[in-house]
Symmetry: C2
Subunit: 376 residues, 2 copies
């Protein structure tokens, strides 16, 4: 099947680019001497996850219960649910702990640990837990310099109802960087904060079996990972416009695109309209900290996914995407019925809008991958 037979909008995965991205990070993990526990939240499909774990130990990272169950059903036996466990999800997590070789959850608060201990002791199990650490992203995690961080680690270490698997962080603030040098600084911070914290814990008598870090930008930028056990990048499978802007990849590494059709042209105001709106692309604003006018994705040719200069996706409504030409003549290349591809600002959010990916190789659709959606 060729691209012309697909109904727009739909999600395309460029298999060659994806395999190149996967190989690059796989080799990087081997070279830096860390275990790769890739995140699967970007694509949420078994086929891509199997490529990610090839030549690695097989562990993955998930972001939802639905992902955990989906990948468990596909034979994945070792996962970490890398969002602090909600007390309302404890029973489901314990069920997965029973079924799998390893199912680790995250905690960053005493109240969660109390609930987890209560649920685990009632079920006579001791689930694996990571203590989440805030290495600077200010989202979730304990502050590593706080007394509370050490006391919580001590409590987990001593508890008969949980098994402390280690400490874990995610340097989400790398996404706000302006260049690779800044990302490299965040990557060094992510590593150093965690190595120091683990060392403090060991000095306090807490055994830390694993030190887990990871984000796609920091893993792309870091030059050494001494003291780190595992990394958990995920976005790199597809990459996206934000990753290209912060230097994790080039635009021609981006493996996910949305196939669009031109439905309206307005030469008098130098605009054309695509049938890809906020539901196809998501409304992620993109790397606005680097370019306030970056728009909602990069408009490319359909055949070779080459960015079309002078065209910016300036507005999205539910099913419409408005593309503006600058210079004005830039839109003259585009006519009603033309097909284009749009590279997403944030591939995790764009991929989530589709119930299937059309896998493309050399201009042909060679496979269809079905991701899992929802939360439970």
């Amino acid at each position: 099947m060729d691209l012309g037979q697909l109904t727009t909008p739909c999600a395309l995965v460029d298999l060659e680019r994806l395999e190149r991205n996967v190989a690059r990070f796989s080799e990087r993990a081997h070279r830096l001497g860390v275990r790769l526990r890739p995140h699967v939240k970007t694509h949420k499909c078994v086929e891509a996850a199997r490529l990610q774990v090839r030549n690695h130990f097989g562990g993955i990272t998930v972001s939802t219960l639905a992902e955990a169950r989906h990948f468990a059903a596909a034979g994945f036996e070792d996962m970490t649910w890398a969002v602090p466990i909600a007390p309302g999800h404890l029973e489901a997590a314990i069920d997965l702990h029973r079924r799998l070789e390893r199912f680790n959850v995250l905690v960053d608060h005493d109240d969660t640990v109390t609930e987890l201990e209560r649920a685990a002791s009632a079920q006579r199990v001791a689930p694996g837990v990571f203590l989440e650490v805030d290495c600077g992203g200010r989202r979730t995690g304990v502050r590593p310099e706080s007394d509370r961080a050490v006391s919580l680690a001590r409590r987990l270490h001593a508890s008969p109802h949980v098994e402390l698997r280690g400490v874990l962080t995610h340097a989400g603030h790398a996404y706000g960087c302006t260049d690779q040098l800044a990302v490299a600084d965040v990557a060094a911070q992510e590593r150093d904060v965690m190595v120091r914290f683990a060392s403090n814990l060991e000095a306090a008598g807490v055994v830390v079996p694993e030190v887990s870090i990871g984000s796609t930008p920091t893993f792309a930028a870091v030059d050494a990972l001494d003291g780190i056990g595992e990394v958990r990048p995920g976005n790199y499978v597809f990459f996206d416009v934000v990753q290209a802007a912060v230097g994790s990849c080039r635009l021609d590494d981006i493996a996910l695109s949305v196939l669009a059709e031109v439905i309206s042209v307005h030469p008098e105001r130098s605009e054309v309209v695509l049938n890809t709106g906020a539901l196809a692309l998501s409304k992620d604003p993109g790397p606005v900290h680097l370019d306030p006018h970056c728009g909602y994705g990069v408009v490319c040719t359909v055949d070779d996914t080459r960015p079309l200069s002078g065209l910016r996706l300036v507005a999205l409504t539910q099913e419409h995407g408005v593309v503006r030409g600058d210079p004005r003549e830039a839109v003259d290349r585009v006519a009603v019925g033309d097909r284009l591809r749009v590279l997403p600002n944030h591939s995790c959010l764009t991929a989530a809008m589709f119930d299937r990916y059309h896998v493309v190789q050399s201009g042909s659709v060679v496979d269809e991958w079905r991701p899992v959606r929802g939360w439970s």
Copy 2:
């Protein structure tokens, strides 16, 4: 089943609010003497559409081929696909034209009409078409003052391969208004532009069977619709924070909310984190033209969906929502494991993230509605 048994995040529909919203717009249509052809793109489920068309003629408006097929399968026989038809969708549209009593498509360009005539004549059918008019929103549609608008209408009127059903517009620019007075101006413009254009066409010998307008803000604000045949609001079923900001409704009319659980608390920086991120809420920025700090939704109590003052949803990542307290003590009311509801900025985009809605009445889950997703 009560709300405590639901797994978070999930989408809740307040049935009482929804029925009140539906009744309000239904009565308004009767009072203003227009046919109501409600849009179903906000909820995309049969149950809500049936409530919308109760006491009306039964026609609906859809935004995707998937919606058209889903509602056709549920017995809806009269629909307008209110996005300019993509040439790649013509065959599917003609198939729906054959199967349904009425299936109208939109055009705004000669090239689309050429393709439509070619497909229709090959299939020996004459599908119903609306000519889309730009009444000021600058998205799709012909400019009504242009020669091209009149010549395109003439062409459709004269064509043996299509049946001109009328002219249609959507005043999307009403969403950018700052108050009800401004919305009322846009509503008057939407009506007047269309009445004048239809009159010009009639004078040019083009029969205009229908004049169709509609958006939730303009229909909520308009005081008279003389000369207008039908209206197509859709968002009003749920409403949302943007609609409340421009005055279409009050916050306590909003019928859609997302049930969230607190997964992390950070009193030292006056923040708590919910397990509702960009995938549960969408990344719609909300009414930033009225309040640049409005945040990603309104945080409410779980029982009576009452906004919690002093709490703002300041940041979203894929599965995390960061809520900040101002004053700082505002977060002290919230603990790990607490459940909250979030009213969405843009209910069309938030609803689209869920594969089901839990319908709630008097604190109990009384039904589950399944929307259609995707595009084909």
